[in-house]
Symmetry: C2
Subunit: 372 residues, 2 copies
DNA sequence: CATAGCGTGGAAAACGTTTGCTCCTTTCAC
DNA sequence: GTGAAAGGAGCAAACGTTTTCCACGCTATG
């Protein structure tokens, strides 16, 4: 039994020196053998590996990081794990990390400035090799703490005003235009929009995209209600919409949770979806597929987002990013048709509805990232 | 501007020796001041802190861990982040970690033995102070690797066959009995059960609890269909149930995703919930509140689970666990009434339905854990 | 006034790696 | 046969902390 074999060593210091001693080589050679670096006589290497296996030796990462100056940790700062937008991102990010022999230090800010500061502090204290920031409202001074230590940084959607930092821009316009056109093709003319908290850049951008798309198509972008990107806001929004003089026949929401709130409120009020009201979401979180009916929504691929973020970090840290332009990435959004949209209550389609659009793609797909 | 002030130091080695030098004390004193350990002259301490703030010094955690022998990291191994059961757990766990000045090393196994091995390897390599294991099918030999290094371990629901390891037992019986009795009170006599993958201990335990509860109440526990704990399995299960000779009027599911699958299939088949069919889930994931109608389900509090796990780890590592019994914890389950259950199609209630049951509680609530 | 005792600061030894440098051995070419 | 070149192994110095041990000075006490 394995355990018994170990038991005999159990009190001894199981470090690389012990390995070297037993393999009758120097620690330098043992280290080189273990890391398969430089050339070491196959004979010796085999001896080292044998001892490593026998003793169940695991190198001490902190010592290694200390001397090598690289921790092989990427930080990932999100706002809240319970936000359904993140699980897929975190999972993809971790998969990539594992494939590239990195670890992730995951922290959440729960929208608390103090927690945000703690997050940054942790990142620095652990000397992470890079940080992906997927939360909003990072204070300038915190940022500087990281920049000062020249920690590679990737932001999502902060806009072009921060320089020298990799930035993933989201193309909201594309998906939202598709959504509006889709609804128009279904003869909807009174289309409402439930916005998110407008102090968030992303929420504001979505609203602007809605307005632009409506104008583009010749409809008035007037029916706008403000929600909170949560279920409750969606429910309230539909109540508010019900009070309007001109009742809309379709609702476009700033995110999926809002849309689910709208559907939930509709369910309570016996409003039939999609017969009486068409609903479109934004994000395409997992849950969107499971609602009843399944939600037509604008997909912002969380997988792709995670892939870009990781790749960007990897580029920085491996020093592959030389040109200035490489710091800008873009993620496009696309409409995903499901069953929450249908013909406007009193109408008939003039054109065939647009065909189903594939998953979003991003530029700068790398071939060096392993795993999925 | 802050940045400019830093700029002047930007090339220098900002370590504790630099701090000591500038504060004109020894590194020993600097360390003691920073860690507020032992007594150091307030005058000197103030000088040290002043320099720390000015330079924006952050201690190097790896060096600290190396010499102190404690990493202040807890490992958390889950199966998949995208499993809706985990977000709440991870969030709570992290909140507690932050409050107690710990970090978490989060890994997922995606049910891949290789990934599981990698997870364990990472935990050991980072010299974590403890590991909470929330995934199933951990191989015995991997376990021994951890035990050999006497890493404190907390398991969820492995049963009593592993000794010397903290273990959180789930009381499935309590909640499931409540669910069955609730349905019976609503005049349901034909109650079906959609089981999970029976090679999982937890799924098997739930099924056993169902059988026992049915027998207890004088009903035959015969209508059992096997699902997969995922949406698809639930959908398939309802189809299968539809083919049975004796059509059940209520379905109890082994987890919430299954229940949502059942509801989804019912939606497609125009079966009305709860009018035609009552549905009960298990777990009480976030989404259960958002389905249409909201799902009546057995709550297994993810928050409490995370709290227990964290507290158990803390007990181990702070050396507070002396008695043998302390290694066993229990989490009870309780029915949460929502709107997916109603009177059986052709019946009238004989008794008043049971009153709403509060959130689950666990033994050994600690008062030493800070934050939430 | 001398001495014991205590509290405080500093020098230096860890912690477990990687890695620059040196030295030795071997090989190969002339 | 001699020289240089190449390649592989080992010594020892880092990396940035904590912590042990010791010395010093101050206070209180006999």
């Amino acid at each position: 039994m394995l355990w018994l074999r170990w038991a005999s060593y159990s009190q001894e210091p199981m470090d690389i020196r012990e390995i070297a001693r037993r393999a009758k080589v120097s620690t330098a050679t043992a280290s080189r053998a273990i890391n398969r670096v430089s050339t070491v006589d196959p004979q010796l290497a085999k001896r080292v590996w044998k001892v490593v296996d026998e003793l169940g030796y695991y190198p001490n990462t902190q010592a290694r990081a200390l001397v090598s100056g690289r921790s092989r940790i990427f930080g990932l700062i999100v706002s809240e794990f319970t936000n359904p937008f993140f699980p897929e991102i975190v999972q993809t990010f971790e998969n990539l990390a594992v494939g590239n022999n990195y670890e992730i230090l995951l922290t959440s800010t729960v929208n608390d400035p103090r927690r945000m500061e703690l997050s940054v502090r942790r990142m620095i204290e652990r000397r992470v090799d890079g940080v992906a920031i997927l939360t909003f409202g990072m204070e300038e001074t915190l940022l500087e703490h990281l920049r000062f230590r020249s920690v590679p940084l990737v932001f999502v959607d902060v806009g072009p005003d921060v320089r020298g930092i990799a930035n993933i821009r989201i193309n909201y316009q594309n998906g939202i235009r598709q959504a509006v056109q889709h609804l128009a093709a279904l003869r909807h003319t009174r289309i409402a929009f439930v916005a998110g908290p407008l102090h968030l850049k992303s929420a504001l951008a979505r609203q602007e995209a809605f307005k632009a798309s409506m104008i583009e198509i010749g409809l008035p972008p007037e029916l706008i209600v403000v929600g909170d990107h949560r279920l409750e806001g969606g429910m309230r929004a539909l109540i508010e919409i019900g009070r309007l003089n001109t009742r809309p026949t379709a609702v476009l929401c700033s995110n999926d949770m809002t849309a689910i709130g709208v559907m939930r409120q509709a369910y309570d009020q016996k409003i039939k979806i999609p017969d009486d009201l068409s609903v479109v979401g934004f994000d395409d979180i997992r849950m969107a597929e499971f609602t009843m009916p399944p939600l037509t929504t604008v997909q912002m691929s969380q997988k792709d987002l995670a892939k870009i973020a990781f790749q960007a970090l990897l580029n920085e840290v491996e020093g592959r990013s030389t040109s200035h332009e490489r710091h800008e990435y873009e993620l496009t959004t696309n409409l995903v048709l499901r069953l929450s949209t249908a013909l406007a209550p009193a109408g008939r389609p003039s054109t065939t509805p647009p065909k189903r659009v594939g998953a979003s793609r991003f530029r700068k797909v790398s071939t060096t990232v392993q795993s999925d």
